[in-house]
Amino acid sequence: MKKPLVAVTLAAAAVPMLIGVAALPRPGDPTAPAHTHVAAHYIEAGARETGADNRVTAVLLNYRAFDTFGEVLVIFAALAAVIAVRSPATPGGRADDMPGPGPGLPISPVVAFIIRLTAPFIALFGAFVIFRGHVSPGGGFQGGVILGALLVLLSLVLGRGAERPLLAVPLARWLQAAAPLAFTGVGLLGLALTGALLGYPAEPERHALRELMMITLDVGIGIGGAMIILGLFLEMRGD
């Protein structure tokens, strides 16, 4: 693209945005509309209505669970699309004259040792972030990313290639779909209990069940997210 055209494009994008942000309320203003409508209700009534101390989790898994359902479907669809693009069965075939990724440099023994040494702690941290996500900072996505990073690290050290995958491929496929499956299961359970898809029972005697449903969603998101990150990594690497 020509340089003047680039400058015009940037100006056309920047000037309206600068005019727009100049008219916004000051960041941090407690009377801004961002703090006075639904957000105030979420903060005030969240504990009673959802049982989640962490209001971000309350919004994600309860108030706006449909959003999150769509989101886990998006990342699952992204993995499916990556597998489709990278699959050798793509029409046109993979050019055979292009060498695939070689084995690369061997991992240094220091790095391998450190990864093995820290792996249990990373796994514990990831599980903690997932299971305590509704009462403390964290949640399914955050813990899932931690676990996914751990799986990527471990597959670097223990990488066994496409012939001997760490998990059987059908099992891995089901685990990659864990988040949509958990949402479907909990959503249908909510439908049976309350008459609304992804509804949560509100009676005080059923609060344990409500908590269990939220933890199921968090665990599903965490495991599904970790497996999807690992799957993306392996597909990119060419396994």
Partner: protein, 116 residues
């Protein structure tokens, strides 16, 4: 202009967005274009999260004994969704770029115009 100075945080995100936009439109390398897209996404995420900030506020984790004011939880939840979608876009774009390189042997957009 006075208001813009008060909203200098937001103006900084506009600047970050424009850096990303510049990379997307001016660079020819597809990987660089993808990096530019990610910079633009980061600017949008930072902008929306900042709008949920409140003076002296803490994280909206309201256990027993927590005292306000609390930041708005809604932008945070929206941005978690946005980050996941951004990861999906990046992964799919990278896999397409890898396939393009395999098929065409180049990642430069201007060279790809002539390539079949």
């Amino acid at each position: 202009m006075d208001d813009l100075w008060g909203n200098i945080d937001y103006a900084a995100f506009v600047g970050l967005f424009c850096i990303g936009l510049y990379v997307v439109v001016a660079k020819q390398n597809l990987i660089k274009k993808l990096l530019g897209l990610n910079i633009m996404e980061t600017a949008v995420f930072a902008f929306i999260v900042t709008s949920g900030m409140v003076d002296g506020g803490t994280a909206p984790i309201i256990g027993p004994g927590a005292t306000g004011p609390f930041a708005s939880p809604l932008p945070h939840a929206l941005i978690v969704t946005g980050i996941v979608v951004a990861v999906s876009i990046t992964a799919l774009a990278l896999s397409l770029i890898v396939e393009i390189y395999r098929q065409c042997g180049t990642l430069e957009a201007d060279e790809l115009k002539g390539a079949e």
